[in-house]
């Protein structure tokens, strides 16, 4: 079976090599033009499966997820143990570390104040998607030190 990817008409920004210097030398950088770094390329691997969410609460603070962080969720990734995931338990969403080991399946917080949750069949836990990146506006990061 041969699958051909359909050419969806995505605009593609190309660096413009506008070289028409009427006198003088052409720019020596012309042969070395590269695209600017695009965070979308880095952070979004599967655009149609990627969603953003915002979090409230401190249960994941030791996993570098502070209050109000923006999380990038990729639903196309199959979760494996140790991934941070957006999970659904019953009717509620939560973000926790997904752990599967010989003792069972767990959702671990990243804050000593909270306990891990062992997942049972009846809980009907589902992984909604895997958290791939954490985006933080540094303005929300408080520091108690006196400078």
């Amino acid at each position: 079976m041969k699958l051909v990817r359909v050419g969806v008409g995505q605009p593609c920004a190309l660096p413009l090599m506008n070289d028409s210097v009427p006198a003088g030398f052409p720019s020596p950088a012309t042969d070395h033009v590269e695209d600017r770094i695009d965070l979308n390329d880095l952070i979004i691997k599967h655009p149609s499966a990627t969603f953003f969410i915002r979090v409230e609460g401190d249960s994941m603070k030791d996993a570098f997820i502070p209050e109000h962080a923006l999380l990038v969720i990729d639903r196309s990734i199959k979760p494996v143990s140790n991934n941070i995931v957006l999970a659904v338990i019953g009717d509620e969403f939560t973000v926790k570390r997904y752990v599967v080991n010989s003792k069972g399946t767990f959702l671990y917080p990243a804050n000593k104040k909270y306990k891990a949750l062992q997942i049972t069949e009846e809980m009907n836990m589902k992984v909604w998607g895997v958290v791939t990146h954490i985006i933080i506006d540094t303005k929300v990061l408080h520091d108690d030190r006196d400078y």
Binding site: M1, K2, L3, V4, R5, V6, V8, H46, P47, S48, A49, F51, F52, I53, R54, V55, E56, G57, D58, S59, M60, I65, L70, R75, S76, L86, V88, G90, D91, E92, F93, T94, V95, K96, K126, W128
Partner: protein, 421 residues
């Protein structure tokens, strides 16, 4: 082979992605202005609620007792989710025809017969996992049969959401199952006529002589007849055809009688139409404005008028379209009525590059085009209607009722899903 991928209760399924507590519960999505039910989950249908039922006719007790959730339609969200679904389908098949916001035909002609069923299941699982939307897939030799297979899969709930009819026996099973009125593309008139002739199912229909079908139902009926006989007769439309006319008009949130407010609503609709024309790189040469009261309020004096203006030069510029719409409106407006709806419809649409310039045209079209380009660029970056004509106003007294609107979770950074952790 041809497949049709149809999203199950699409609008309601979009809402469920971000509210998992609605899984397995009845959900209803209402039309513009929260008018009537336009999407129902199976659970809502099971309560006897029907498509098209006006919202205020739905029994409040039934809603309360069964924990039914109702939404205003959130087309921004549905449009984005739809795009995600079609992009995902595009990763699996070489060609598709996007048929509507929640349906796409896929061309499976290059794929070996034995690979089709596994591929269909793979597409279905991928859309469910990546986006969260459940879909049903029907596959057969023609578009019409594929549609019937899809319906078969949905109604019988067999085959895990994919139904394929390749052999004559499989096709006959689907034809027997489908009532004649449920065949894709049959009109109510023809369905009634056929029932009078004791044609109950699609299978009965293809037993008729071809000549009879041609005589009683013209070539349209014959095409359907052939499609049901596994002879593909409906062409692919991989590129959406250029629209023949573009219309925007909506009922107001409440009845209005004053000209300035109605004119403001109309200006906004006309602005939308102009934007749609520019997006399609088309211009329109005719414009119709219509205005009417609510025919379902017998206590009100009734009034309905429309007027068509022939424009000197085909255009897609917001200021021209809005100006002509208002001109038309002032011809047909009358005082002392409770108006329900105003709208604008443009026709005689031509590609931008084929516009005939008028001999006595004094509009500076180059300048106008530049202004429109700047307007579209700004509005693309800062959001729809950031820059608009003064006449489009700010108050929006005429605005749609959308009391139960969900967030634009995927397109607006201030409306993301927020999770307490």
């Amino acid at each position: 082979m041809i497949g049709i991928i149809d999203c199950n209760s699409f609008y309601a399924s979009c809402e469920r992605i971000f509210q998992p507590k609605l899984e397995g519960k009845p959900v209803i999505v209402l039309s513009n202005n929260d008018g009537c039910a336009i999407a129902l989950t199976d659970e809502a249908k099971a309560l006897g609620i029907k498509m098209g039922t006006p919202a205020h006719y739905i029994d409040k007790d039934v809603l309360l007792k069964n924990n039914v959730t109702m939404f205003s339609s959130n087309y921004t969200l549905y449009g984005d989710i739809s795009k995600r679904v079609t992009d995902t389908i595009g990763e699996f098949v070489p060609r598709m025809e996007i048929y509507s916001i929640d349906e796409a035909f896929i061309d499976l002609s290059g794929i070996a017969m034995k690979d089709i069923e596994p591929l269909a299941h793979k597409i279905r699982q991928t859309i469910k996992q990546h986006i969260g939307i459940p879909v049903t897939i029907g596959i057969a030799k023609t578009k019409t049969l594929a549609k019937l297979c899809n319906r078969f899969a949905k109604k019988t709930k067999k085959d895990g959401g994919v139904h394929i009819a390749t052999t004559q026996q499989q096709v006959d099973e689907v034809l027997h199952f489908t009532q004649i009125g449920d065949v894709w593309g049959i009109g109510a008139q023809h369905a009634k006529m056929l029932q009078l002739h004791k044609i109950k199912t699609a299978y009965d229909f293809i037993q008729l002589p071809q000549q009879w079908v041609l005589k009683e139902m013209t070539v349209v009926g014959l095409r359907m007849y052939r499609e049901l006989m596994q002879q593909a007769s409906i062409k692919w439309e991989f590129q959406p055809p250029r629209k023949k006319n573009i219309a925007t008009g909506r009922s107001f949130g409440k009845l209005l009688s004053d000209a300035p407010t109605i004119a403001e609503a109309l200006s906004n609709y006309a602005g939308n139409v102009a934007l749609k024309l520019r997006q399609e790189k088309s211009c329109a040469k005719a414009l119709t404005v219509f205005l009417n009261t609510n025919p379902f309020r017998p206590e009100d004096k009734q009034y309905a008028r429309s007027i068509t203006l022939e424009l000197p030069v085909a255009t897609n510029s917001t200021n021209e379209i809005v100006a002509y719409a208002l001109k038309g409106f002032h011809y047909i407006y009358a005082e002392g009525y409770n108006f329900l709806k105003v709208g604008v419809n443009v026709g005689e649409i031509v590609p931008e590059e084929n516009v005939q310039i008028g001999l006595f045209d004094e509009t500076d079209r180059d300048k106008n085009n530049k202004v429109m380009k700047a307007l579209d660029t700004i509005n693309n970056i800062y959001g729809r209607d950031t820059v608009r004509l003064a006449v489009q106003g700010f108050e929006k007294k005429w605005k749609m009722r959308q009391a139960r609107l969900s967030n634009r979770y995927t397109t607006n950074i201030n409306q993301l899903l927020t999770v307490k952790i």
